[in-house]
């Protein structure tokens, strides 16, 4: 019982923090508002850590909080599942959230929406916790839409900017396309299993493997495959997989702290979490896994390519996030679910770090985000520089930083995978390694090295950010260095996640067991050399030979054009879906409602009545001789009929 209260307290603390700082913020003042938010989320982090330790010692939990509704023979419940997977997610979410809360004090110091911002991010933490702690699909969907709502509110936080409110509408709608699949997936789960409870569904899944349905075109589909594909559509929306990725780069219109929290570390990984959670289902469908693998590989490769040509510092990090989400998805497709979550965790740390470092640069540059106007910042911003390099090394997968272990494990898993499409995915992730190293160090070199390219005014005022900004950077840099080495062994050997995710035999490369062995093996494997090559090229292009990028761009004009237009997804969607549905709506309204129904049927009927009455009115002229004449004609007619019938 006491544990249940503990579990309940974790999300509710965040909710209360959100209500106090968000709704009462204007009354209680800025300082009290951020105290409330940080206090609530900080306490949630401490409690989550306690829960994680408790779970490590084997105390898992699966129970109901309250019955939300009953209908037919189904009970819809709100409840918690506390197992290693949710414990890892809880710690990651609350830790990154806490760092972002602290950072916000500095970053948003001058913003009039200060208290509102704290309310939103605390609310986000609540919704995200509800998502990861859920023990059923209903509550999962609640958290899923909850984080979507807060993401919508935060992308549009600066509501006077047209670009921001376009981006948040786009983000919500693209996510809704994913939710369309997700909700139908939930419908399919209920139709097949008669329950939305994870444990019940997973227990019943193996015996449902053979069940199939036939679509109207005569194709036969396994139920489980249909369910998995529908759920994956949801995951594609939230985790921004091609072709539903278009919202994530635009989400950078929001303040930087939320780019770190929501659009890098936590919310966008909800889709990865979802599939890891559903691993008992996905394991039963090779078709679904193959789709997951190929979509992930496409995302990893295409988005890394787009990142090469970005000049906005946040957008580079955003495209890198997309690419890394692709890596996680690839791991899921290769049945290496624990590896995907491992990369999710390390990525959360170093990507939040990179975003916050980018934010620190942006403050120093007075909200300039174009890297072409930066350069040489390392002298005036040493802490930001150092932490940013750590984050970039981790992202590029250089040992012994965190990203090395998780990325290497993914590459190894894809190498071992027999899922259809694994060959393509293997090439994609290897090419991705070069690209990742290149664009991350392109960012470092363009921003911190070389000659300063900003105007004199800005340059004279350059200084390191305040402590509320640098302390979270340092605190995030620590796990970015060590989390990989610490977690790699338990994550790969299965002791970390236990049975909370399925680990099929042979899906995770055990190869060199343990962190030290992996480090020792690194010089003899391709990924390290690919990463170093990427860094070297970046150094050549942006430090040693600054004239090379222009020269290459001129030679590869078509490629650059395609990349700068991000493969044309945005234009296509704008034309076909946005403009298309509006044109369709306009047509239906003008021709269907106004012309056909109102014009022809309603007013048409009225007009017929009017015309008829005009006609009949003429007959009733009121003149006696008209009537008499009519009577005679009638009489003649009647008599003729009687006579000649």
């Amino acid at each position: 019982m006491s544990r249940q209260i503990l579990y309940l307290a974790i999300p509710l603390l965040c909710l209360f923090a959100a209500i106090i700082s968000g709704l009462l913020g204007p009354r209680i003042g800025r300082v009290n508002a951020h105290r409330a938010a940080i206090g609530g989320v900080g306490l949630a982090f401490i409690l989550s850590s306690i829960v994680a330790i408790d779970v490590y010692f084997g105390n898992t939990f699966n129970g109901t909080v309250y019955t939300w509704a009953t209908s037919g023979d189904v009970r819809f419940e709100v409840g918690f599942l506390i197992d290693p997977l949710s414990a890892v997610m809880m710690v990651v979410v609350t830790f990154v959230s806490l760092m972002v809360h602290i950072y916000t004090i500095g970053y948003m110091a001058e913003d009039p929406g200060y208290t509102r911002f704290f309310g939103y991010i605390a609310l986000f933490t609540f919704a995200m916790l509800m998502l990861v702690m859920s023990n059923n699909f209903l509550q999962l969907f609640f958290g899923w839409e909850g984080v979507g709502l807060v993401s919508y509110l935060l992308i549009g936080f600066w509501y006077e900017r047209e670009s921001a409110i376009r981006a948040n509408l786009k983000a919500f709608l693209v996510n809704r396309v994913g939710d369309f699949g997700f909700l139908l997936g939930i419908g399919a789960v209920l139709a097949l299993f008669g329950s939305l409870d994870y444990a019940t569904v997973f227990a019943a899944a193996p015996s449902s493997e053979g069940l199939s349905l036939v679509d109207p075109f005569g194709n036969e589909w396994h139920w489980i495959t249909v369910i998995c594909l529908l759920l994956f559509v949801g995951a594609m929306g939230k985790s921004a997989q091609v072709p539903l990725h278009v919202w994530l780069p635009d989400s950078m219109e929001g303040p930087t702290p939320i780019s770190a929290l929501i659009h890098a570390a936590t919310m966008v990984t909800a889709g990865i979490f979802l599939i890891a959670r559903m691993s008992p289902l996905f394991e039963l469908s090779r078709t679904a896994l193959s789709v997951v693998l190929i979509i992930g590989a496409l995302t990893a490769l295409l988005m890394a390519l787009v990142a090469l040509v970005q000049t906005d510092i946040k957008r580079v990090v955003a495209y890198s996030t997309l690419s890394q989400l692709g890596y996680m998805t690839v791991a899921l497709g290769a049945s290496a679910y624990s590896v995907a979550i491992f990369h999710l965790a390390t990525h959360a740390f170093f990507k939040a770090l990179l975003f916050l470092a980018a934010g620190s640069v942006i403050i120093a540059m007075h909200h300039e985000q174009d890297m072409r106007r930066m350069g040489g910042l390392r002298k005036s911003m040493p802490i930001t520089y150092l932490t940013c390099v750590i984050g970039s090394l981790a992202l590029a997968g250089v040992p012994p930083f965190a990203g090395f272990f998780s990325k290497d494990a993914i590459i190894e898993a894809v190498h071992l995978s027999t899922t259809p499409g694994a060959g393509f995915a293997y090439v994609a992730v290897l090419v991705g390694v070069v690209l990742t190293a290149f664009y991350s160090f392109r960012l470092v070199f363009m921003t911190f090295h070389g000659v300063p390219r900003m105007d004199e005014q800005t340059r004279s005022h350059l200084h390191e950010s305040p402590r509320v900004v640098t302390v979270p950077l340092i605190l995030l840099a620590i796990p970015s260095v060590i989390a990989g080495a610490l977690l790699v062994e338990p994550a790969l050997t299965g002791t970390l996640f236990g049975s909370s995710v399925v680990t099929p035999e042979g899906s995770v490369g055990h190869g060199p067991a343990g962190a030290l062995a992996m480090l020792a093996h690194a010089p003899f494997s391709a990924p390290l050399w690919l990463a170093l090559a990427g860094i070297l090229v970046a150094w050549l292009f942006y430090c040693a030979r600054p004239e090379w990028p222009g020269w290459v761009a001129k030679r590869l004009r078509v490629v650059v054009w395609v990349l700068e237009h991000k493969f044309g997804f945005d234009e296509l969607y704008q034309r076909v879906f946005a403009d298309g549905s509006r044109a369709l709506g306009e047509t239906l309204w003008r021709w269907g409602d106004r012309r056909l129904i109102d014009g022809l049927m309603v007013n048409g009927t009225a007009a017929v009545v009017v015309r008829a009455s005009v006609l009949f009115r003429r007959v009733q002229s009121g003149l006696v001789y008209h009537y008499a004449f009519a009577m005679i004609i009638g009489l003649v007619g009647l008599m003729s009929w009687l006579l000649f019938r």
Partner: protein
């Protein structure tokens, strides 16, 4: 049963009607403050009077409760016969609750013929409750038609510039439909050998062609009221011209009367015809969900947009009914209550803006959040509820209908789920253009945020939306027995 229980429904029906007449008696606008206070007192008392319907409601039976039956017109065997089950009871409470809101909404806004305005709403309240409680065909028909009169007056007297066209269109549309219903009722009277008891109608065996004719006659009446495509075009016009309170009642309750009619009359009396025509009704419902949502997307007038959104949401209700699945039907019933709250609240929001700028055009606004943060909070909240966000009531109905539909036919469910995208698109696009962005005009810059009265009314509805979204169990518990009974009844062929 106590005397109180036996006459409670009569009290809930006639108290507001008599109260409305009392308000009328205050006469001219010189006594407006008296009329307002009196109206509010009567509305609140009616609401309190209706609460025992829930607290004393028995969950374990599908039988009619709070039954009252007196002979009325002996010659034709007409009875004054009232009673409610788990389908009707929530609608009665919704009516009494929203009437309070509507009285608050009209408080300062209505300055001409104040007593008459409030009296119309109070009288209409009683008549609408009468529709939900009638178990006698003649009584049902009387309430059904009598209710048109105050609504016709509300649109025609306090409405906008094009009010006469709208009022007459509304009147003729619904009247044509309901005349066919009268024919069906008279036929059933003869077929039963002289009874107008709706419960007797339900047990009457009818052959296939007869059922089809009876069903179509009812369908004409109810489809217009819901409204279903293609007989929906009266609704946007009526909404645009109606005063805020009229729009709220029209969307929140009047539309529900059509849906209620399907469950009380059409399906139980002609179950075989209902099953036979179900594909048609489902198709029309899905057309409503998608076609109307696309039409809503391009509306420039906020009220029209919400009106089309209402039609689209009501498509979910009729879809849920004609899938003949427990979850879908219960979802449809929750959707009826939820839509009452959400569409009512959205019309109130538009009313708030209209009272200030006298424009319903989306283009007249922009950047409202800057000057009206509290209002914008509510607008975004209700917009999200309209888009079916979990945690709000809007989610519960859509979720259950989609789940129930999926278990019957996955393709129908997929088409219905399109609303997830399009519904969010038209609602949030409107919010974006009205609330967000830079402040577009000096008039917008002058706007005042919500007054205490306006905050109160929106807060009350928001509480309902949130409570229903977070814990719909109590509402569903009320429905279970009646829905199970209805579905079991409809599953048995009368042939």
């Amino acid at each position: 049963m106590s005397w109180f229980d036996q006459h409670l429904l009569s009290l809930v029906i006639w108290f507001p009607v008599l109260g409305g007449i009392l308000v009328l008696s205050t006469g001219s606008d010189r006594n407006a403050p008296v009329a307002r206070r009196l109206a509010l007192g009567i509305a609140i008392t009616s609401f309190i009077l209706s609460l025992p319907l829930w607290t004393r409601f028995r969950l374990d039976t599908a039988a009619m409760q709070f039954v009252e039956r007196q002979p009325w017109i002996d010659r034709f065997n007409v009875h004054y016969h009232l009673g409610i089950d788990g389908i009707a009871m929530p609608l009665v409470l919704l009516t009494t609750f929203l009437t309070v809101i509507v009285v608050i909404a009209g408080w300062q806004v209505i300055r001409e013929r104040v007593a008459q305005y409030f009296a119309s709403f109070l009288i209409m309240e009683g008549l609408m409750i009468g529709v939900f409680c009638s178990l006698d065909g003649v009584l049902f028909y009387l309430f059904w038609e009598a209710m048109l009169i105050p609504m016709f007056l509300i649109v025609g007297v306090w409405g906008g510039p094009n009010r006469v066209y709208a009022a007459i269109k509304f009147f003729l549309y619904t009247l044509l439909g309901s005349l066919l219903m009268l024919v069906a009722l008279l036929y059933l009277y003869n077929a039963t050998g002289g009874s107008f008891n709706i419960l007797t109608f339900a047990q009457l065996p009818l052959d296939g062609p007869t059922q089809l004719m009876v069903f179509l006659a009812f369908f004409a009446a109810f489809a217009v009221k819901v409204p279903m495509v293609p007989v929906h075009t009266w609704l946007p016009d009526a909404h645009v011209e109606a005063p805020t309170g009229g729009s709220v009642i029209l969307a929140a309750i009047t539309l529900k009367m059509g849906a209620y009619g399907f469950l009380r009359l059409a399906i139980p009396i002609a179950p075989d015809a209902a099953h036979q025509l179900a594909p048609l009704v489902i198709a029309l419902s899905l057309v409503a969900v998608i076609y109307i949502a696309l039409v809503a997307l391009v509306q420039q007038d906020m009220k029209k947009l919400i009106a089309y959104s209402s039609i689209s949401h009501m498509g979910f209700v009729t879809l849920g009914f004609f899938i003949f699945d427990t979850r879908a039907m219960e979802g449809a019933l929750v959707q009826m209550i939820s839509h009452g709250f959400v569409s009512g609240a959205l019309f109130l929001c538009v009313g708030v803006l209209y009272d200030r700028l006298h424009s319903r055009e989306i283009a007249s606004y922009g950047g409202v959040v800057k000057v009206m943060p509290v209002f914008s909070f509510f607008l975004v909240f209700f917009a999200m509820a309209n888009a079916g966000l979990p945690g709000t009531s809007g989610f519960v109905g859509e979720f259950l209908v989609i789940l129930g539909t999926f278990s019957v036919n996955g393709w129908y469910a997929a088409l219905a789920a399109v609303t997830l995208v399009v519904g969010a698109a038209y609602t949030l696009w409107m919010v974006k253009r009205v609330a967000f962005g830079p402040v577009t005009s000096p008039a917008v810059a002058q706007l005042q945020d919500l007054s205490g009265r306006e905050t109160l009314m929106l807060l009350m509805v928001a509480a309902g939306v949130l409570a229903l979204g977070l814990w719909p169990l109590p509402l569903l518990d009320v429905m279970h027995a009646s829905v199970d009974n209805l579905l079991a009844h409809a599953a048995v062929s009368k042939l």
